[in-house]
Symmetry: C2
Subunit: 426 residues, 2 copies
């Protein structure tokens, strides 16, 4: 059965998807029974050469023309960013056309409203490729685990930063050098801000948390730090202490609300996430009955992402043809995000101290004042300035932050040089 | 919206599912919008105490009464085995009632016919829990990756044998001792044949291969060896050589057909599957565009399996209410199974030889005659009997088997003590 497909955005993923739909049409039809015809593709520059073969009149530089084309029954949005992507998705849903998107920024920002709109119009809004690239994670969370009380979702969801951290750790290279190399290799964009600031990972964490706990969380509500301030010294010291530093997205449900955050985190060497190197992604899903599930694979790249988009396109096309909304877009409960200060965490501190008798006692006193208990301490260097490494037990973020403020006021402390989270227990 | 559920089989998984549906009805309804009411449960022994709370008139020891109950709209089959489970599933589908099952033996044996029947009647036949227990793998294969040309599916799909092999390797304990321990701990059944013979893994391999390649393969068509003949000596020697022995299911597509088999296999220490310990399962899915995906988690157990079944029940109930068959049961192409002898593989051999000049030359000659090339050799012991370990390069199974037959005829070879596969390359 034939379904007319419109694609807006023909960059790396859009180009790979169009090529797949055109070149492998027979194989897709044999496997799915669907004839998915690319009717219209919205591009930025009509003059640019494309990796796919389509008559010129099927290309347009007006994205709304894709949505409005009466022969387009299903819209795939692969422009990225909030606008004009958001208007395009909204226009399609309002016209009763199902939408498949890989746009994590849009879903993390307007997912609640767009899901409601899709629900109202009785059409699908699918976004498997928005998190984890080619890794099937959205469908398992929203369908396979629909009957499970999930307790935690945690993982490495940004390939660029994992590539950079892996390189820095393994080669002892500085952040700026590795970033430059990643840009040359195509692992980082020319403006890497969204990745290295943790914003991309925060959007994905918000989507995962919303689906896992059925409670809407916007990307902007996720406390985050990026890797742009990371010094290679801390990666090396963490390694000596038995950890590897990963940019970790964690979402946990507790009685007080959903705690979600994205932070560079010390992961014990023996933890499976420590073994996820380079641009790979890996996500743990934990639940009462299910125990611990691991999903891992290529977190980005045109081809894997296009595969995930195509899986959604096939699903949405089937629903469309069946004339029924079988898996309604998730309807989220009001958000109950735990404020950042109340999240319990262990931390790693690197302090530059003026080595003098009693320094350690004064520092320990500051932590004690804020009820942050120290798990272990290492001191290096004597006379003049020394380096002090501390790993603490769990305490609320607000207590940690208050301790840092006090430490910075101590004469004995020249600098609080690094503050990182530690993944403990499991 | 309400859906009447009938469950046949109230063992570990059935009991866990019924408890979940009854105790967590409110949470399930909040998350899915569905009121799933347990209308009838078929049990073997009406007198036995159950972990779930149901009025006595909702229990029956006649499984067909569950299917025939007009208030039962959806049937969950959790009896296991071919009969009477097969008749019950068929009866339900013929009555136009969707079926969810965790029965890998039934799906691997009659899946083609039952899928066709479900397709004809326009109802769902779902079996996420048949492979990998709580790990979502069926849905990713049949939906998320529907547009992908998959090349290989490979993994550890039987928790009992992985538990036994892990224990034997880590404790140097004999097979029979570890099996007895596994039985006491509940990791192995009192009759462990299906697990240790590789039959259970072969059924799962057949299901994975059928879905991955869209080509129907029956469980009985999967060449297999179990772990019942495994000696701890080979586990220790494999470890010395840099490998760990796993019961591996592998299905690969080649131009000549689908090669699928279940065999104890030497896996390099650095391979991610080497790290899968105890009763865990892990499955790699590989494709042209997708690269390599890993799914891992608890491969068995009542609770995780019941979670997977519940995900299917929610899906099937939604389709039922929508009155539409959105994801039609997979329609398989005719099978193109590559015969076992043509599968290329590397092997590990342990030979007991009568140590005399020229022995190694004669053995090497036998392998050479059959065009099996030797990658490495270790010899231990001198004078009298010696142990010879060989690891070969890839060669067709038939060539290996012919070499073994000739080796057994050599006076110099006292015994071909062990023959195992080696996972090479990747």
């Amino acid at each position: 059965m034939r379904v007319g497909i419109g694609i807006v955005g023909a960059g790396v993923v859009g180009g790979a998807l169009a090529s797949k739909l055109i070149d492998e049409a027979d194989a897709i039809e044999a496997k799915s029974g669907l004839s998915l015809e690319v009717v219209k593709v919205g591009v930025r520059d009509l003059a640019k050469a494309r990796p796919f073969d389509l008559p010129a009149d099927r290309l347009t530089d007006r994205p709304e023309d894709v949505v409005d084309d009466p022969d387009v029954q299903l819209v795939v949005e692969l422009m990225g960013g909030l606008e004009p992507a958001g208007s395009i998705v909204q226009r399609a849903l309002e016209a009763g056309k199902p939408v498949v998107t890989a746009n994590k920024e849009l879903v993390a920002s307007r997912g609640l409203e767009l899901s409601d709109l899709a629900h109202e119009r009785g059409v699908a809004l699918l976004y498997e490729a928005a998190v984890g690239g080619g890794i099937p994670i959205i469908r398992p969370l929203s369908q396979s685990l629909a009957g499970e009380r999930l307790t935690r979702v945690m993982g490495i969801v940004n390939g660029t930063t994992n590539f950079i951290l892996t390189k820095m750790t393994e080669e002892g290279a500085a952040y700026s050098d590795v970033l430059a190399e990643a840009q040359v290799l195509g692992y980082a964009e020319s403006d890497p801000t969204a990745d290295v600031s943790g914003a991309d990972a925060a959007a994905k964490a918000a989507i995962l948390a919303s689906l896992a706990f059925g409670s809407w969380i916007a990307g902007d509500d996720v406390p985050r730090s990026g890797i742009d301030g990371i010094e290679v010294e801390d990666l090396i010291r963490a390694d000596d202490l038995g950890y590897v530093v990963k940019l970790l997205a964690i979402a946990e449900e507790s009685a007080d609300g959903v705690a979600v955050r994205v932070k560079p985190t010390l992961v014990p060497h023996e933890h499976p996430l420590a073994a996820i190197r380079g641009a790979q992604n890996a996500i743990f899903v934990e639940g009462d009955a299910i125990g611990q599930l691991l999903f891992a694979g290529p977190g980005a790249g045109g081809e894997p992402t296009a595969t995930a988009v195509l899986g959604d396109v096939i699903d949405a096309a089937r629903e469309l043809l069946a004339g029924a909304q079988v898996t309604p877009p998730v309807r989220f409960q009001p958000s109950r995000v735990l404020e950042a200060g109340r999240i319990n965490t262990s931390r790693y501190y690197r302090l530059i101290v003026n080595d003098a008798p009693g320094v350690l006692a004064r520092i320990a006193e500051v932590f004690g004042d804020h009820e942050v208990s120290i798990a272990s301490v290492w001191q290096e260097g004597m006379g003049g300035q020394a380096t002090l490494l501390l790993v603490t037990h769990q305490a609320p973020e607000s207590s940690h932050d208050a301790a840092v403020a006090d430490l910075e006021r101590l004469d004995a402390v020249a600098e609080v040089a690094a503050v990182l989270r530690v993944l403990d227990g499991d």
